[in-house]
């Protein structure tokens, strides 16, 4: 977007400049709307599950801002040569079910013909203007909690290559279609300093976007939840192109402080995710309470993966 100037208004609360999850615009003293749009190409072969995943992925941006979902519009690029009307219906049914589960309504949508199927949602949410949870307001002493395992990028790429074991497909589909709604509500209730969701920039990319010129993060590799099957698929070279772009872009700020981490294991932290979990920066003294509540709510794969410390340069250390 070089050379483009996007004017801010007094009502603009969050826009492009901080790489946040969605835009925020204040419409009254106590209401800001959260707006986002996202659409993806198929990541699993089952059309209903693909619809669920694409919708969960789109809705997640609203949850990452600590907001509630209100309305959604379908965004459909329809490949009528390869996708039947029945399959399209299943995709939209999957999306609708997830919007209903999120507490929202689908008001309509728009479809164009395309050579490759794409589906997603434009979503509007609401939140009190003072309660927007941003992505880059982490503080020293915070703990970082991740609410879903990573590994979706290599697994969805291996599905495209027809090389994914069924167990990996099932686990990835389960996690990608799982809404970040409950995790977001619990985080807001406890009170957290920052939050984002892990998607295309991978764990390290999104985590780096949470840092700023006064704080950095130390990760504990062993605490990061990773879908087990992802390790072997990583060794087989099934990373999506985006994962290597992430590595190239973020690598100068990443420091490995352990000897037993292979290049494949490290690369998984750059792996581009679809519909990943929330990454929550919570004051240290509240971290165990938040983790307990997440697990009690059934989000049992949640884990404290790192901590925030004072630092003059932005970096992530992997220990």
């Amino acid at each position: 977007m070089k050379g483009l100037k996007y004017p801010h208004t007094p009502n603009t609360l969050v826009a492009f400049d901080t790489s946040d999850d969605a835009g925020a615009y204040q419409i009254s003293e106590d209401i800001a709307i959260i707006q986002t749009v996202d659409f993806i190409t198929p990541v699993v072969n089952d059309p209903y599950k693909f619809g669920q995943i694409a919708a969960a992925n789109s809705l997640s941006d609203v949850f990452a801002m600590g907001a509630k979902v209100c309305t959604a519009l379908n965004v459909v690029a329809y490949d009528s040569c390869h996708i039947t009307k029945e399959m399209l219906n299943e995709i939209l049914r999957g999306g609708l079910d997830k919007v209903i589960e999120a507490g929202g309504v689908v008001l309509g949508g728009h479809t164009i013909e395309d050579l490759e199927m794409k589906y997603g949602l434009s979503v509007t949410g609401i939140v009190h203007p003072n309660k927007i949870v941003r992505n880059n307001t982490i503080k020293p002493g915070d703990k970082i909690i991740l609410t879903k395992p990573i590994g979706m990028g290599v697994i969805t790429t291996s599905i495209k290559a027809d090389m994914a074991p069924q167990s990996a497909i099932d686990k990835a589909a389960f996690h990608m279609s799982y809404l970040n709604k409950t995790a977001s509500e619990i985080a807001v209730e406890i009170g957290v300093n920052a939050m984002t969701d892990v998607t295309g920039f991978g764990l390290l990319g999104h985590l780096f976007e949470m840092t700023n010129n006064s704080v950095s993060v130390r990760l504990d590799y062993n605490s990061i939840p990773i879908i087990e099957e992802a390790f072997e698929l990583a060794e087989s070279g099934l990373f999506p192109g985006g994962s290597y772009r992430n590595k190239k872009y973020y690598e100068p700020n990443i420091f490995l402080d352990r000897k037993d981490c292979t290049q494949d294991q490290l690369m998984l932290l750059y792996d581009a995710q679809t519909s990943g979990g929330l990454m929550i920066s919570v004051p240290g003294e509240k971290a165990d309470k938040l983790l307990d509540k997440l697990k009690l709510a059934g989000i049992e794969w949640s884990s404290i993966i790192g901590e925030v410390f004072d630092s003059k340069d932005r970096k992530i250390i992997i220990g």
Partner: protein, 68 residues
């Protein structure tokens, strides 16, 4: 000697083509690659299958020469 041209293909297609060549059991083959992602992914696949290869850099693409 078989030559596998992965230029212009996006992931995971290069890996799929190379895996299919590995399964034929040929003693020697060449792979043409033109993106960072395919170079890295194919390198991982060859290493996992314990295959040795020489790398030749051309102006617009890379060649992996694989021998068993």
């Amino acid at each position: 000697m078989n030559q596998i041209d992965t230029r212009g293909l996006s992931c995971p297609q290069p890996v799929v083509l190379v895996l299919s060549e590995i399964k034929t059991g040929n003693d020697e083959f060449e792979i043409l690659l033109d993106s960072e992602a395919s170079r890295e992914n194919v390198k991982r696949l060859l290493s996992k299958n314990k295959l040795e290869f020489d790398i030749k850099e051309n102006s617009d693409h890379t060649v992996y020469h694989v021998t068993r």
